[in-house]
């Protein structure tokens, strides 16, 4: 439990600084959002019942809400629901056989 909490806290801090970097430095070079890709990868690679993917999706959505004109919570809840849907589809319908060697998050 403590280990997971620490892992989540670490992820939140890293994502916060990565988000600031993406908003204030990267627009000069690319419009691609690496953080969205990162969150999708976490959700795909972790166990379907895992919570870190959910936390990361929620936190990224929350940051996007705060640093945009949206209402707070719009993207946060949206990303959370998408993450749940992705996990549900992965757990119920998709078996990625040869990815077993990848380290689980």
């Amino acid at each position: 439990m403590i280990k997971e909490a620490l892992k989540t806290l670490f992820l939140i801090v890293v994502m916060y600084y990565a988000f600031l970097f993406e908003m204030s430095f990267l627009p000069f070079f690319t419009f691609f959002s690496f953080l969205i890709l990162f969150v999708v990868l976490i959700n795909i690679l972790e166990e379907p019942c895992g919570r870190i993917g959910l936390f990361s999706a929620f936190f990224l959505g929350l940051l996007m809400d705060i640093y945009s004109t949206h209402y707070i919570g719009l993207m946060a809840i949206g990303f959370l629901l998408l993450s749940l849907l992705l996990k549900l589809i992965l757990s119920r319908y998709v078996r990625v056989g040869s990815l077993g060697w990848l380290p689980k998050i």
Partner: protein, 293 residues
């Protein structure tokens, strides 16, 4: 590496989505699933209620607080990014282009000098005062939104900024307008934000049209009358007709004119007057009235 993905043989997305909604959220059954649990649904509902309360009472204050905490780091990152990207550009090509533009501007200036003197003489003769320039507030850009063409700037309500105020660069190049104001920060919607329409004038053609944001820092010219000639590189300036912007702010230049047989109006791309790589300091114009916000 060979990847193989086995998909459930009876998988049909639509039916399963309905299944997801009714069976897992409304008629919840824990034995069938470990992804959507009762606890998670409770947390979701709790978050929804929290966000409703936050948006009703704390939204602007909370955003302003978060911006204050990150503003210094973001401003330095923006400066760094701006300098790095400028250094990456081909300096020789840039110099050549600037010299050419400078020569053209000098010749235009020489032509305008006579007109200016004549204008001043006529004004004096008619007893007219010279029009005051705009009342401006200086600010600087901190960040750009990831998903849209909006910028965060470091001036807000406390500096006299209000929603709808136009934002320009030095040289009266239009950047956009303020769409959200917080106590110490504001958010500026760029002219390139998707579906952002601005009434514009093309002085060369003596005609009006619409500047339409396309997203991704691109804008296009639309609704230009078919019977008039639209020349490449013609200047586009704001028109006071829309009520959102003062007349005469530089929007950009006409590029890639498209005159199709089956369309009533002509279209073109707009080469915008600002380059994000060099945008640091901005000016917010304090206008007395916003007619159409």
């Amino acid at each position: 590496m060979h990847l193989f993905v086995n998909v459930h043989p009876y998988f049909t997305f639509t039916l399963d989505f309905v299944n997801f909604v009714f069976f897992y959220i409304l008629v919840y059954n824990q034995s069938m699933n470990s992804v959507i649990t009762k606890k998670r649904i409770s947390v979701l509902v709790f978050l929804l209620v929290c966000f409703l309360i936050v948006n009703a009472f704390l939204r602007d204050g909370l955003k302003n607080f978060v911006y204050e905490k990150s503003a210094a780091l973001q401003a330095s990152l923006w400066d760094r990014g701006s300098n790095d990207s400028f250094a990456r550009q081909n300096q020789e090509e840039l110099n050549k282009k600037l010299i050419e533009e400078n020569q053209k501007l000098l010749s235009d200036l020489a032509g305008l000098q006579g007109v200016r003197e004549e204008n001043e003489t006529l004004r004096e003769a008619l007893g007219l005062k010279l029009q005051n320039d705009f009342d401006l507030v200086l600010g600087r850009v901190i960040s750009k939104d990831v998903l849209s063409d909006t910028l965060l700037i470091n001036i807000g309500l406390n500096d006299g900024v209000k929603k709808g105020f136009p934002v320009i660069l030095s040289g009266k190049a239009l950047l956009g307008r303020v769409v959200d104001v917080y106590p110490n920060y504001s958010r500026v919607m760029l002219i390139t934000q998707k579906n952002n329409m601005i009434d514009v004038e093309i002085p060369d053609a003596k005609s009006f049209a619409l500047s339409k944001g396309e997203g991704g820092l691109k804008a296009s010219l639309d609704m230009f009358p078919r019977d008039k000639e639209l020349k490449e590189d013609s200047l586009i300036i704001t028109s006071a007709m829309g009520g959102n912007y003062p007349a005469g702010l530089l929007v950009g230049k006409v590029k890639n004119v498209k005159k199709l047989d089956n369309e009533v109006y002509q279209r073109a791309d707009i080469e915008k007057a600002f380059d994000l790589n060099t945008v640091n300091n901005i000016f917010v114009i304090k206008i007395a009235e916003i007619y159409n916000d």
